[in-house]
């Protein structure tokens, strides 16, 4: 708070104000002081003039009085009498009329004729006389002179009868009352100072007695300069000095005093008022500054708090600033920013949890919702929807077409959703429907509805697209209690469904274990060849046409170190789906050749057929490699037959046919495996350079005379023969089957009835002492 904006504003304002007040106060003080002094000086000047005027007037009055007195006939008579006693008495009498303190009569030659005071004689009389003569010559009529212990105002008049016969001098004592009178008229303190023979021994003053003593001491030290200051007991006086009269051995001065202290005291209320006004202004400004600062800092603090809340992700803060100033617009901007931030964050959150294409929740949100359903223990069904042919759609309609298809699809599904249900896009072609309060039966029903909805083709541009949708269902709590588990199991179910014609599969208990096994197998398969875990088994074939050469099909076996023997039906699809099949095929081809070489070296001639995967047929280098191996093991190519599936050729017919022709050019025989299960056409078959058909075991296993299979098998054999192809029937498990095949002139038979797959050594033993079959015996 101490460093707050509010405090700083207040501090700055107060400092400014203090400075202004201080300057003002000083200025007022200085101006007052100057004014007081000037005023005092003016008063002194005026006072001095008034004083002189008064003195002059007083002197003239006295002079006039003296004139009148001198003109009095009786007085003249007395003076004319020449009798000193008479004159003295006349002087006393007439002087008393005008309150004269001292009366002197001078002869015209300057000598004192008569004096009312006995002590005015000698030097004093001479001085007086000289002074009077000078006065007379100057035409002056008033004069001041210290006589003994008093200062006298002296005036003279000539006694004429009618010619001047004498000079009359009247002296009026200047005493305290005279000084007081002048003080009242001039409002100035007055000190009259008489000096005789360089001794200032006559003082008449209106000052206090103590002040007088003090001033006497001061005066003893220095003469008063004009306009000097005099300090008496804490009171300061401005002093003006007037020399009233001066002569040899005497001087009369008047000192006019103006008390600066008293004059300043008159201004004291001004100072007090200034101080009071300043204080009030200071307090008012302090209050104002605090209010102003508060009116700024409070909204700022409010905004800061709001910003803090925004920083913490709370966008619901309200700000209550009904102001039209900058802070108001700042607050508005703040609110706008807050709502903008909230909107953007909502958008970000939405983007983080939703699929940008469809706007559907993504996997995270789906899992979250599922998690909350689980937490609330609501029975929930997961419908995992996979689109099997999205890649095809993308290829044929372009990526935009695929997106459009997905959007249309999700739009179709929306009406299906009840409140609480949701649909999410997990990855590109996989979706998840979360159906709350749904058990497995209801889930299947809804899944059926989904399938009904999606079976109708989508209109993408001008093309009609049918989606290959597979649905896997997992149900909480039956199929799992964690969201991840449920999602995985639903996904597994979907994967399973994809392999089913109905394209719908409820999760089967343990499928996830199988799935884990698959994952493990896929992982371990890569190193199986290197670790020598693979081996070939050989299933003998029985020639029904009397061919003497030993025939067998080489079958791959995987001896897993922990899981034991893995059937090819399990790991071959995994290898095909993960792309490791080519390595396996290569191993099989080389191992088979090595075995043939070995047998050949021991005089055993065997014709081996190998299974070539679909993906091997898209490898154009295969024929070259086979040729190299044939050279390497010095084998005749006719010892080898490559079994291919119809669908393998379908994948990429051009390349596949090229590869097949290349193999055929090496001398390798080609056989169509699993004939009858695919969709291959006879036209296709005609184009392929094959020499053999292998009828799928599903036709052979339950072969009887009257079954539909019999017709197929029989006509296939006949058709093949017509096309110049030999026919192999696999899966022969019954003697009856073998008989039928023999009757229908099938060329070769293979199956458990003849022999199960054997290891190399067992095969050798089997060859050495072959069992006797009725067919062979028949033939």
């Amino acid at each position: 708070m101490r460093n707050s904006f509010q405090a700083r504003i207040a501090a700055v304002l107060i400092m400014l104000l203090l400075a202004v007040i201080g300057a003002l106060y000083l200025a007022v003080e200085a101006a007052t002081s100057v004014a007081v002094r000037n005023q005092a000086r003016e008063q002194l000047d005026v006072g001095a003039r008034v004083f002189e005027q008064l003195l002059d007037m007083r002197g003239r009055q006295l002079h006039d009085a003296a004139q009148v007195l001198a003109a009095d006939f009786g007085f003249k008579d007395a003076v004319g009498s020449g009798d000193a006693a008479t004159i003295r008495s006349a002087l006393a009498n007439h002087g008393a009329r005008i309150n004269a303190g001292i009366m002197l009569l001078f002869n015209l030659d300057g000598g004192v004729a008569v004096s009312s005071e006995a002590h005015v004689a000698g030097v004093l009389a001479e001085r007086l006389s000289a002074q009077m003569t000078r006065l007379h010559n100057d035409g002056a009529q008033v004069f001041m002179l210290p006589i003994h212990d008093q200062i006298y105002l002296l005036v003279q008049a000539t006694v004429v009868a009618p010619l001047p016969i004498a000079r009359l001098v009247l002296g009026f004592p200047i005493d305290q009352s005279f000084a007081r009178e002048l003080q009242q008229l001039t409002h100035l303190d007055l000190t009259l100072l008489g000096e005789q023979d360089a001794r200032a021994d006559i003082w008449v003053s209106t000052l206090e007695a103590g002040d007088q003593d003090e001033m006497r001491r001061e005066a003893a030290q220095e003469m008063f300069a004009p306009d000097s200051l005099l300090s008496l007991y804490g009171e300061t006086y401005l002093v003006q000095r007037l020399v009233l009269s001066e002569g040899e051995g005497f001087q009369v001065q008047a000192l006019l005093h103006r008390s600066l202290t008293r004059a300043e005291a008159a201004f004291a209320p001004l100072g007090q008022h200034t101080l009071l006004i300043s204080l009030v202004a200071l307090l008012a400004s302090l209050g104002g500054a605090l209010l102003l600062a508060r009116s700024i800092s409070q909204p700022v603090r409010q905004l800061a708090r709001m910003a803090e809340r925004v920083g913490q992700g709370d966008y619901d803060g309200q700000i209550d600033l009904q102001r039209r100033d900058e802070l108001g617009s700042l607050a508005n901007a703040f609110v706008a920013m807050q709502s903008g931030l909230a909107e953007r964050e909502r958008q970000l959150a939405h983007n983080a949890l939703h699929d940008p294409l469809t706007g559907l929740p993504n996997r995270h949100l789906a899992l979250e919702r599922l998690g909350s359903a689980i937490t609330a223990e609501r029975p929930t069904a997961l419908l995992y929807l996979g689109i099997g042919n999205l890649r095809l759609i993308s290829e044929s309609c372009g990526p935009g077409g695929a997106d459009l298809a997905i959007q249309q699809m999700t739009a179709r599904l929306q009406p299906l959703l009840r409140p609480g249900d949701s649909i999410a896009r997990i990855i590109a072609d996989e979706f998840l429907l979360l159906l709350e309060n749904t058990d497995s039966d209801n889930a299947v029903a809804i899944a059926d509805q989904v399938q009904q909805l999606l079976i109708k083709p989508l209109q993408i541009g001008i093309a009609d697209i049918a989606m290959d949708c597979s649905l896997g269902i997992a149900v909480y709590p039956d199929n799992g209690t964690s969201a991840d588990e449920l999602l995985r199991r639903a996904s597994i179910a979907m994967g399973d469904a994809a392999k089913l014609p109905g394209r719908l599969q409820l999760y089967q208990r343990g499928r996830d274990v199988a799935h884990e096994r698959q994952v493990r197998l896929i992982r371990d398969l890569r190193r199986a060849t290197a670790h020598g875990e693979l081996l070939l088994n050989f299933q003998p074939k029985l020639s029904l046409s009397g061919c003497a050469t030993h025939q067998a099909e080489a079958l791959l076996r995987w001896q897993h170190p922990q899981l034991g023997m893995i059937s090819p039906g399990e790991f071959i699809p995994l290898a095909e789906s993960t792309g490791s099949i080519q390595a396996l095929t290569a191993w099989v081809i080389e191992e088979a050749m090595r075995q043939l070489r070995e047998w050949h070296d021991r005089g055993l001639l065997v014709q081996l057929s190998l299974n070539i995967s679909t993906q091997d047929l898209v490898d154009p280098d295969l024929p070259a490699r086979v040729r190299e191996l044939l050279v390497k093991y010095q084998l005749a190519a006719d010892q080898l037959t490559f079994e291919i599936t119809e669908s393998g050729v379908m994948l990429n017919p051009a390349v596949a046919l090229e590869v097949l022709h290349g193999l055929r050019a090496c001398g390798i025989s080609l056989s169509v495996d699993d004939f009858g299960t695919g969709y291959s056409s006879l036209a296709q078959l005609k184009r392929m350079p094959v020499q053999e058909l292998k009828i799928d075991q599903s036709f052979i296993r339950d072969l009887s005379d009257t079954s539909e299979d019999a017709v197929i098998v029989r006509s296939t054999i006949e058709m093949s023969h017509s096309l110049g192809l030999t026919v192999v029937a696999e899966g022969v498990e019954l003697e009856s089957s073998l008989r039928l095949l023999q009757r229908w002139h099938c060329d070769t038979a293979q199956g458990y009835f003849i022999s199960r797959p054997l290891s190399a050594s067992a095969f050798e033993a089997w060859v050495a002492s072959p069992p006797v079959f009725p067919a062979t015996t028949v033939s």
């Binding site: 003109a71 006939f73 003249k76 004319g80 004429v160 009868a161 009618p162 010619l163 016969i165």
Partner: protein
């Protein structure tokens, strides 16, 4: 006014001439000047000769006319009685504190019954207690022959018997108002013209005219200021 006083002086001279007509005599025409040669009016010349007869002092008149003493200077022989007629229609209070003759004629109009006898030689300064500016002088001398100069500074003494005369001169402005001795004069039968110079004191004679009233001054001043 001056012609009037001149007339009176003529009358006085005529009286003197008539008295000396019995003797064979010459006349003296004295020209009285100050140190700068200016003609002096109201100067007195008196002669004392060998053949002075002890004639009694002739009575004289000091008139007050237009608030002035007329004549301004009156020369009389010791013991002369001078009457102080008042020709003004206001009263005067004539006094003298001079040692030669102290007297006082209290406020009066017309001619006081008793003339004042000046029995000691000297100068008597006359004043009026009411009108301070009025100054008159009475010169009292033991000399039998004297005259007062006119406006041209000329004083004439007729019928002077031949002989040697002591000459005394006086004027109100002589120092200390004391008479001054001049060179003796020898008179034959021929008329004499003689020039006499007097040493004077610088002091002015008192104002010979009444001052204007203070009110009149103030009024005139106010008028000037207003213009």
């Amino acid at each position: 006014m001056s012609s009037c006083s001149f007339y009176i002086a003529q009358v006085a001279l005529l009286v003197c001439c008539l008295q000396a007509s019995s003797l064979l005599a010459a006349s003296l025409q004295a020209e009285l000047v100050d140190e700068r040669g200016q003609a002096l009016e109201n100067a007195v010349i008196s002669l004392r000769g060998p053949l002075d007869e002890a004639a009694s002092a002739a009575p004289a008149v000091m008139d007050q006319l237009a608030q002035q003493f007329v004549p301004n200077v009156l020369a009389v022989r010791t013991g002369a009685a001078v009457s102080f007629p008042n020709s003004d229609n206001i009263r005067h209070h004539v006094y003298s504190f001079s040692p030669a003759k102290r007297f006082e004629l209290r406020l009066y109009q017309g001619t006081p019954s008793e003339p004042v006898v000046f029995d000691k030689p000297g100068v008597v300064v006359l004043g009026c207690n009411i009108h301070d500016w009025m100054v008159g002088y009475v010169y009292i001398t033991d000399d039998p022959r004297f005259a007062v100069s006119d406006a041209q500074g000329v004083a004439t003494l007729a019928s002077l018997p031949a002989g040697r005369y002591a000459v005394t001169l006086w004027h109100p402005q002589t120092p200390q108002m004391l008479p001054q001795e001049a060179a003796p004069l020898t008179v034959g039968t021929e008329p004499i013209q003689q020039r006499y110079s007097l040493a004077l004191q610088g002091t002015q004679a008192p104002a010979a005219t009444p001052p204007a009233s203070a009110f009149g001054d103030a009024f005139k001043k106010a008028l000037r200021d207003a213009q």
